[in-house]
Amino acid sequence: MNSLASDQVMTKNDKTVLGFWIYLMTDVILFATLFATYAVLRNNTFGGPSGKDLFNMPFVLTETLILLTSSFVCGLSVLAARRGSKNQAQMWLSLTFLLGMVFILMEISEFHRLIVDGNSWQRSGFLSAFFTLVGTHGAHITVGLIWLVVLRWQMFTKGFTDSTLRRLTLFSLFWHFLDVVWIFIFSIVYLMGVA
C-alpha cells in the first residue's frame, strides 16, 4: 500500500466519526423532544403520585454514580487501546459492560417497583412521560451493551485493527453521550422532581 492509500483510510475514519457525531446530534433532538414532552406533562398527575412521592433519591444517586464510573472506565479503555495495551483495554471494557449492566438492572428494578405499586405508565400523563423518557435512555443503554458484546467479540477474534479501533472510538462517543443525557435526566426529572 502506498501513502495515498493510507490517506484514504484516514479519510474513511474521519468520515465515519463525523457521520457518527451527526447521528448523535439527531439523538439529541430525539431526547429534546422527550424532555419537552416530559416538561409539559410533569404536573399532569391526574390525582396520582408525583415525582416527590415516588423517587428514591439515594437509589438514583447510586445509579448515577455507577453510570458515570462506567463512562470514565470506558475512557480508560480507549486510552489503553490508543497506547496499544490490549489487555488493559479489554479489561476496562469488561468493567464498562459490568457497570452498564448494573445500571440497567437497577433501572429495571426501579420500574418494577413502580409498576407493582400500581404506578405504571397507564396511571397518568406524568408517569407515561416519565417512563418514556427514562425508558428511552435505558433502551439506548441496552443497545450500547449489545454493541459492547459484539465489539468485545470482534476485538477477541480480530485483535486491534483499524475497524475495531474505529468502532471503539464510536462506542465511547455513544457511551459518553448517554452519560450526558443521564445527567440531564438526573437533574430535570429527579432533582427538580423532588424539589
Binding site: 468520515k15 430525539l30 414532552t37 409539559v40 406533562l41 399532569n44 397518568s124 407515561s128 475497524s163
Partner: protein, 679 residues
Amino acid sequence: MFGRLDLSAFQHNIITLGGIATMGIAVVGIIASLTYFKRWKWLWEEWLTSLDPKKIGVMYLIVAAVMLLRGGGDALLIRMQQVLSVGDSKGLLSTDQFQQIFSAHGTIMIFFVAMGAIFALMNLLVPLMIGSRDVAFPFLNATSFWLFATGAVLVNLSLAVGEFGAAGWLSYPPLSELTYSPGVGIDYWIWTLQIAGVGSLLSGINFLTTILTMRAPGMTLMRMPLFIWSVLGSLALIIFAFPILTATLALLSLDRLLGMHIFTSEMGGNPMMYVNLIWAWGHPEVYILILPAFGVFSEVVATFSQKRLFGYTSMVWAIWAIVLLSFLVWLHHFFTMGAGGDVNAFFGIMTMIIAVPTGVKVFNWLFTMYRGRVHFTTPMMWFLGFVMTFTVGGMAGVLMSVPAVDFQIHNSLFLVAHFHTMIVGGVLFGAFAGFSYWFPRFTGFRLNETLGKFAFWCWQIGFLLAFGPLYILGMMGATRRLDHYDPSMGWRWLFVVAGSGVLVIGAGVGFQILQIVVSVWQRQPSWQKVDRLLRISKIKKALGLSVTENQKVEPASDPWNGRTLEWSISYPLPVYNFAVIPKVEGRDPFWVAKQTKVQPAKPAYEDIELPKNTPIGLFIAGGAFLFGFGLIWHIWWLATVGLIGVIALITIRMSDDNTDYIITAAEVENLEAQRRRSA
C-alpha cells in the same frame, strides 16, 4: 398466533377491490415479464443489491413514480366523491372510505412522491456535482432506500390487508388514539412513516457527511453548485426535524400499544402537545421538499439562460435564512389553538418574514434570465410555470399568516389550495424540471420536447382548473375533508370544475408516460454515434464536402451546454464517476473549462476503491417490515423475529471487513481507453 389479523381484514367493497386488482395485475405482470425475459438474476445483481447511488437514485425515482399514480388515483376518487355526493346522493364512497383515501393521499404524496423525488435527485446528482465517486456511507444509503421502499409497501399493503388511517395525513389525537380509532389503520400509518422516516433520517446523515467531506479539491463551500447548497440546507433540516417525527410517532404508538396517556384526552394526556410536535417537524418538512426544488431551478435557469446565476451569495444566504426561519413558524398551522395574541402575532410575523428570502430567490432567478440567451426547453417551461404558480401560492400563504384572517379560513379548502399550489407548483414542477434536465445525463438521449411541452401545459392548465376553484370554495366556507354537502350551498359547479382539472392533470401524466415511451423508441443516435458523426462531418468539412442536415449534431455528452461537473464526463457514466478527481478553481467549473479550452494533461490514474454489492440492506428492510407488520397486527412473535433479524444483520455487516473492491490504476486506464474508443 396472528394477533388481530383474521379473515375480516381481507373483506373489502368494490372500489377497494378494484384498487387491489389493479395493483395485483401490475405485480403479476412484472413478475411474469421478469421470468419470461429471464431478468431475475440481472435485477438482483444489477439493481437490488447495488450500492451505486446512481442506481439507487433510479430506484427512488421508480418508487416515487408508482406512488404518484397511486396518490393521483386517490385524488381522483376524492374529487369524484365531491362532485357526486350532493344532497340526497351519497356518492360512491362511504364516509370511512373517503377518510382513508384522503389520509392515504396526503401521506403518499408527501412521504413517497415528494420525498422520493428529492432523494432520487440527491442520489443521482450529489456525488457527480461535487466531484466524488460515491457517498460517504454507501451501505447505509442502500439501507435507507430499502427502508423507504418498505414504507411504500406497507402503505399499499394496507389497502389489501386491513385498512389505512382515517384521521388525516397527520393523524391528530385524540381522534387517532385507541378510544376513537381502535382499528389497525392508524398503526399502518404510524409504521409506514416510522420506517420510511428512519430511512430519510439516515439518508440525511449520509448526504450531509458526503457534502461536507467528499467535495473535489478546490471546491470550497462558496464554489458549490447552488443545487448542492440547497440540498445542504434541506439536509440540515432533515437532521433537526426528522428526529422529532421519530419521537412523536413513537409516543403516539406507545399510547396505542401500551395504554400510555401522552396525547390522550383523559388521564392527564395532552393532545395539543402532539400538534405542536408534529408541526415542529412538519413545517421544516415542507422546506426539506422545496429547497432541493429551488436548487434544481437555480441550475436550470442558469443553464438555459446561458448565464452565470445572478446573486449567488444572496441565494446561499436566502437558503440559510429559510432554514433558520422554518423552525420558527410551526405554530401558524394552529393559530386557532388559542395560544393568545402575543404568541400568534410572533408566529404570524415570522411567517411573513420567511417570504422575504423566498422573494429574493424568485428575483434572482428572474434577473438571471434578464439579458440572458433564454432557451425555452421543457425544463425552462416547468420553471416559468413554477414562478407564476409558486408566487400566487406564496401570496395566499402570506394572507393566511395573518392570524385574524386565518381564523376565517383555517382548515378550509383555501388552505388546501394554498399548500397544493406550493407542493405541486413548487416541488413537483421542480422534480419534473430536474427529470427532463438531467435525463440525458443518465440515458444518453433527450426526452421528446414536443410531448414534454404538452405534458407541461396539461399540468399547468389542469392545475389552475383543479385548485383555482378551491380558493373560491374556501372563501365560501367549504371545509377540507368534506365528503357531502347540500346543493343549496351552490358549490357544486366549482367542484365540477376542480374535478375536470384533475382529469386534465391526468392527461398531463399520460403525456409524460407517452413522452418517455416515445423518447426511448425514437432515441437519437446514441452519443457514441453522435460523436462519430461529429468527426465525420469535421472530416467532410475539412475536405470541402457538404454536411447533410441529419449530421447536424449536438455536443456529445453535454446536450444543454451545462455548467457543472456532472456534464464533464462522457456518456455512459462509469461506475466510479470520475476516472480522475477534477480540480476545481471556481464556480461553474465545467463552463469555465469549456470557455478557456485548456487541453487536458495526460491523466494520472489511481487505484479506485468501491463498495461491493450486498443484499444486507434489503434484508434489514425486510426485518423492519416484519417488525412493523407484527406491531400493526399485534403479532408479537413476528415483531420479535423482525427485530432480532435486524440486529443480527447489522452485526453480520459490521463484522465484515471485506466490503470493498479495488479497480487498479491500470484497469482504470484500460476502461477509459475503451470508453474513448467507443465514443
